[in-house]
């Protein structure tokens, strides 16, 4: 294994790391990515077997504390109202995500200007627009052009079918006169770039055996590798190291045998997600940076945003599609996304319509009401909901608060002895009001769609899919960690490209925007290569 110095060292091979690696190779420098997880074989994924639900709840569970695979690190979430989830592998959490693919809207970048809260981004929607489009092409996005909630954009593939449940819910929105639109999904509806189309396996969140759902291990990485990018798996970075001038000069990492290794690099790029990135920066203390690398602002790990989620399930008399079809989303509604002060909260939320579960998960989750009854009522309780539910998720815009944070746990460590992250997070009063409003409106939709009964889950605890804000971007080094193109204010050859750089969260799933930012940062580096360290 070569440990020759490289030009660009990327830490993390997930959504942002894959996109960035594919683009930055054009710079002409050698590029290496260190990833703590393995490559995932599609043939190993749960939907290959009869026990797909059991494996989805265990080995492929989204919570790393449940999974406890060798690639995982523990997360202390005992003081968090929301449990963070993620996956550690080439592809990162895109292995287990639902591939719902909205992008931030133009007014999500100007929250301070528009609503007087949080902060504005140093970039605008228009800055990212070409990178959204390129990313849609690379990932393979299905959708219907012309959603009036967005500036015009054209997904490369036609939309996925709504299914019985989606058709039902769409008619509910129609009867109320509220906005709805088929989702942009990073799931291919037609054969595309050597990948076969979706065959409605369901269980997207335990990995797509068909390969129709985009994950960067099958989209960006194969192309990046053909271009010459190297990737080294099973490598967990302990710390980023500095030279005598205070520039990043590489990393120390544990290889898959647990041996500590050194890798030198001219540029270091961190792509470890909104928890892993601050964890690494805080673990990279030195005499020059006693509070953690690139942390002169004190904001590394602060302003953690998740997107609090509520859930309303409708029970319908006629059978719906059950678990078949992409399980993340059939359609979205931005009806209550814009701010309206008369509602008693600022900003807004997204409705995201989902399908239902397989039989075992139906029995365990029961729509949104918890496990179905045991004993003599069991079969009747189960039959009432199995294949008879469609649901609406309410995804609230989480505003940044410094008290919501990632710190280092004083005791908990991973298998290499590296301090683990501790999450401190409270759902704000604003978000609580937003969720309450959303639950009420979602019930209206469900009833308008013809549901005979409604089950409300006011707060979904295991909902921390979106890990945002913990190394935010800005032009002022006092109030941000990285500049407007991802470069750390304190260390001029250190970049952050994942969800950590988000200034505000919007009310939509962030992966499309995370990847557009990664491509934009790579493009900025290529255009500014002559003055990269100025």
């Amino acid at each position: 294994m070569s440990h020759e110095p490289v030009g660009v060292l990327i830490i993390g091979a997930g959504a942002s790391g894959g996109a960035f690696a594919w683009s930055i190779e054009d710079l002409g420098m050698s590029v290496l990515c260190l990833e703590q997880g393995p490559w995932v074989k599609q043939s190993d994924l749960p939907t290959n077997g009869m026990d797909w639900e059991a494996r989805g709840l265990g080995q492929y569970a989204p919570d790393p504390n449940v999974r406890q695979l060798p690639a995982d690190y523990p997360v202390n979430s005992s003081e968090s109202a929301i449990t963070p989830v993620m996956y550690n592998a080439v592809g990162g959490s895109t292995i287990l995500w639902a591939a719902h693919f909205p992008r931030l809207r133009p007014r999500d970048f100007t929250v301070r200007t528009d609503d007087g809260v949080a902060a504005d981004w140093p970039i605008r929607y228009e800055t990212l627009e070409p990178f959204f489009a390129r990313n849609d092409q690379m990932m393979g996005v299905s959708g219907l052009a012309g959603d009036p909630a967005y500036p015009y954009h054209e997904p490369p593939l036609p939309p996925l079918p709504l299914g019985r449940g989606g058709n039902r819910i769409a008619r509910g929105f129609e009867s109320l006169g509220w906005h709805w639109w088929p989702s942009d999904s990073a799931i291919i509806s037609r054969a595309y770039e050597g990948r076969e189309p979706c065959i409605n396996l369901g269980a997207c969140v335990s990995g797509c055996t068909q390969g129709a759902k985009a994950s960067t291990d099958i989209t960006y990485w194969p192309v990046a590798q053909r271009k010459g990018v190297q990737i080294r798996t099973g490598c967990r970075v302990q710390q980023i190291t500095l030279d005598e001038d205070g520039l990043a000069d590489g990393v120390l990492y544990f290889d898959e045998d647990g041996a500590l290794q050194e890798q030198k690099a001219e540029i270091v790029v961190v792509a470890c997600n909104g928890i892993g990135t601050p964890r690494l920066l805080l673990n990279s203390r030195s005499d020059r940076f006693p509070d953690g690398l690139a942390n002169s602002s004190g904001l590394v790990g602060k302003n953690l945003m998740f997107h609090p989620v509520g859930h309303v399930a409708g029970i319908f008399d006629e059978p719906l599609d059950g678990r078949a079809g992409p399980d993340g989303c059939a359609l979205w509604s931005h009806e209550f996304m814009p701010s309206d002060p008369s509602r008693g909260f600022v900003r807004g939320y997204q409705f995201q319509i989902g399908r239902s579960d397989g039989p075992a998960s139906t029995a365990l989750v029961g729509g949104a009401q918890g496990p179905v009854a045991w004993g003599k009522e069991h079969h009747a309780s189960f039959a009432r909901i199995f294949n008879h539910t469609a649901s609406i998720g309410i995804m609230a815009e989480d505003l940044p608060e410094e008290t919501n944070s990632v710190t280092l746990d004083p005791e908990l460590t991973d298998s290499n002895g590296i301090p683990a992250p501790k999450i401190t997070y409270t759902v704000s009063e604003n978000s609580r009001k937003m969720l309450a409003h959303g639950l009420e409106k979602a019930e209206q939709v469900i009833r308008a769609a013809g549901a005979s009964d409604v089950v409300v889950g006011p707060h979904v605890r295991v909902a921390g899919w979106h890990l945002l804000g913990t190394a935010r971007m800005g032009t002022d080094p006092q109030t941000s960690v990285v500049n407007e193109w991802g470069r750390a204010h304190d260390v001029k050859n250190l970049f952050v490209i994942d969800g950590s750089v988000f200034v505000t969260a919007g009310a939509v799933n962030p992966t499309s925007t995370i990847q557009a930012i990664a491509l934009y940062v790579a493009d900025s580096m290529k255009r500014n290569v002559e003055r990269l360290l100025d």
Partner: protein
């Protein structure tokens, strides 16, 4: 009590408990979880679960002990009504018993081919055949067509 056998090692006991958790459906199409032979699989999973398994095992031991206070032959010697009463009597002292048990019983039951067949679900892995899903209602798409914004060059 030193030689007391864990209830997890008693197949007849496990079968009886599981049949209380998921009894046979009234029409006879779906068997009880115990009759389906899931006791051994569930016991194995509980033994491997170092987090919740001990609590469930303790609860089951309490159920067996309570049953033996009624009948020296233990839980399986009781009527179904008496079994249910004994089980329920232990739940206040062992609140983790049912949640820990159903986590494994429900999953084992609902991925069993017999049960899937009874539910008129295909008893196969989702891949590679997949499933059919209803297409988007053309009437809904027509409504969207009238609202869609156009490309700048349209």
């Amino acid at each position: 009590m030193a030689n007391e056998v864990s209830p997890l090692e008693e197949p007849a006991f496990m079968r009886a408990v599981l049949d209380l958790v998921i009894p046979p459906r009234a029409d006879g199409v779906l068997p009880g979880a115990g009759a389906l032979g899931l006791g051994g699989e569930v016991a194995e999973q509980l033994r491997a679960d170092t987090s919740d398994g001990p609590g469930v095992a303790a609860g089951l031991a309490a159920v067996q002990a309570s049953a033996r206070a009624r009948d020296a032959e233990g839980f399986t010697a009781l009527s179904a009504v008496a079994q249910l009463a004994v089980l329920q009597s232990q739940l206040p002292e062992h609140p983790a018993l049912i949640p820990g048990l159903i986590r494994y019983v429900y999953v084992a039951y609902y991925q069993h081919p017999t049960v899937l067949g009874g539910l008129e679900q295909p008893a196969r892995a989702p891949f590679p055949e997949g499933f059919d899903v209803e297409e988007t209602d053309p009437a809904l798409l027509a409504l969207l067509e009238s609202r869609r914004i156009r490309a700048p060059e349209d």
